[in-house]
């Protein structure tokens, strides 16, 4: 990745390669907060959270909802693996509320089940936030 050419960003979902663009910088929702990637970032692998990904290109900013997954920064590009990539507008509030209700109703008895529940809760809350429900 050379300094001048920006960041090569590829978003892959299990269905297909959703996005393959060049941009100045990327803002990603990580598991613990926002994370910015500028050209020349050292190689890393990170876990994504649920939330909004921002691609900045010139003065323009593109926004996408990322549904968990991973990011891998290599020297030739940034690869984002996520289950789903949605336009923020298409995240449905009703669906998010339903997910949140279901996740809250879960009664975990083991540590593993509790981890699953926490994950479901985080996912539902992020969706709700994006849909403008909070």
């Amino acid at each position: 990745m050379s300094e001048s050419s920006g960041v090569h960003c590829v978003v892959v979902t299990p269905e297909k390669t959703e996005l393959d663009t060049q941009c100045d910088s990327i803002n990603l929702p990580m598991f613990d907060g926002e994370f910015g990637i500028l050209p020349g970032r050292a190689p890393m692998v990170g876990r994504l959270g649920f939330g909004i990904m921002k691609l900045k290109n010139g003065g323009k900013e593109e926004r996408w909802f990322v549904d968990g997954g991973f990011v891998q920064v290599t020297r030739d590009g940034v690869y984002i693996l996520t289950d789903r990539l949605l336009k923020p507008e298409s995240v449905s509030k009703a669906e998010a509320e339903e997910d949140l209700r279901k996740a809250t109703e879960l009664k975990p008895t083991t540590a593993e089940a509790a981890a699953l529940r926490d994950r479901a809760l985080a996912q539902a809350r992020a969706k709700l936030r994006v849909a403008g429900g909070v």
């Binding site: 892959v12 979902t13 299990p14 269905e15 297909k16 390669t17 990580m30 598991f31 613990d32 994370f35 050292a42 190689p43 890393m44 692998v45 990170g46 876990r47 968990g68 997954g69 991973f70 891998q72 290599t74 020297r75 690869y79 693996l81 289950d83 789903r84 008895t109 083991t110 593993e112 089940a113 699953l116």
Partner: protein, 305 residues
């Protein structure tokens, strides 16, 4: 003669059947191409996941996850059967159902519990007929299965496996080997074996001290892990499992279209042959009728003269 009219009627109906089967063949061909493209597009994700797992392996992470561990006693076995919603696709549904019922019997000998899940109307009715109770049925998967729907099933299976409700998960589907070979198979999905970590000297390196590790590894391998390699692995394994199950659904969809294409192609050819032989019989019958009429006329003329 009524016989001639009957033959003509039959020939017409066979012609109509041939029209229908030819159309179905063309539709299956178009759908097969689409399904194939989707399956090809899905390999990107699997490739990247494998890449991450390899990088994790190189960093000397201890690979362990509840989905990778086999349970000590196998008491409950779940089985997922993937068939088509529609018939007219040769032995496609039959062979999957046969493989599944066989495995079900084997399962019942060693395990006393477990659910059977079926996708596709054909499989559902065949399994019900065989007297196998189905806990869950899905009919929403057509030639283009969506990842969201598959992920829901995968998540349910993951939850059941991690919480110990089930000790093994099998899937019966048609594996796509090449466009001329598809085989009905039963594979074990959980405990998950889809992650191959290169058993390199990475662990040794890590044990011998941090200093030598930095020197030994190239820049490319020197990844920073956020939050840690272990935590990433915790997410990679379920994601990889979901992708694996999705691959099964895609394979099944592609194989279904191929099976239908082949079945309809041979049906069209058969109809053509039938039309040929019917035409021959029809012409012969018509000719003999004409000959008979001429004979009658000549006979009449001679009697008068």
């Amino acid at each position: 003669m009524a016989n001639i009219r009957q033959l003509d009627k039959r020939r017409k109906s066979v012609r109509n059947i041939r029209k229908i089967t030819r159309t179905m063949e063309l539709i299956a061909t178009a759908r097969f191409k689409k399904a194939m493209d989707r399956a090809a597009a899905a390999t990107d994700y699997t490739k990247r996941i494998t890449q991450i797992v390899q990088d994790l392996g190189k960093s000397g992470t201890d690979v362990s996850h509840p989905l990778l561990q086999a349970h000590e006693t196998v008491k409950a076995v779940d089985m997922l059967v993937l068939t088509a919603n529609r018939g007219l696709c040769g032995g496609y549904n039959g062979s999957v159902v046969r493989a599944a019922t066989q495995r079900r019997q084997e399962i019942q000998e060693q395990a006393d519990a477990g659910q059977t899940l079926a996708s596709g109307k054909r499989g559902i009715s065949a399994l019900r007929f065989a007297g196998i109770p189905l806990e869950k049925t899905y009919t929403e998967f057509e030639d283009q299965p969506s990842f969201d729907a598959v992920a829901k099933i995968a998540d349910e299976l993951i939850t059941r496996y991690i919480t110990g409700q089930v000790d093994r998960v099998d899937v019966a589907y048609t594996r796509f080997v090449s466009s001329s070979k598809q085989i009905a198979v039963v594979e074990t999905l959980l405990p998950f074996a889809g992650i191959e970590v290169p058993a390199k000297d990475a662990t040794k390196e890590a044990a011998s001290g941090a200093g030598s590790k930095v020197e030994g590894s190239s820049i490319r391998d020197d990844y920073e892990f956020l939050p840690s390699a272990g935590a990433i692995l915790e997410e990679v394994v379920p994601a990889s499992f979901r992708a694996r199950l999705f691959k099964c659904f895609l394979d099944a969809a592609v194989s279904e279209q191929i099976a239908r294409m082949i079945a309809m192609k041979s049906a069209t050819e058969n109809a053509g042959d039938l039309i040929k032989s019917l035409s021959r019989t029809f012409n012969r019958a018509r000719q003999s009728k004409i000959t008979q009429e001429i004979m009658e006329i000549i006979g009449g003329v001679e009697a008068l003269g």
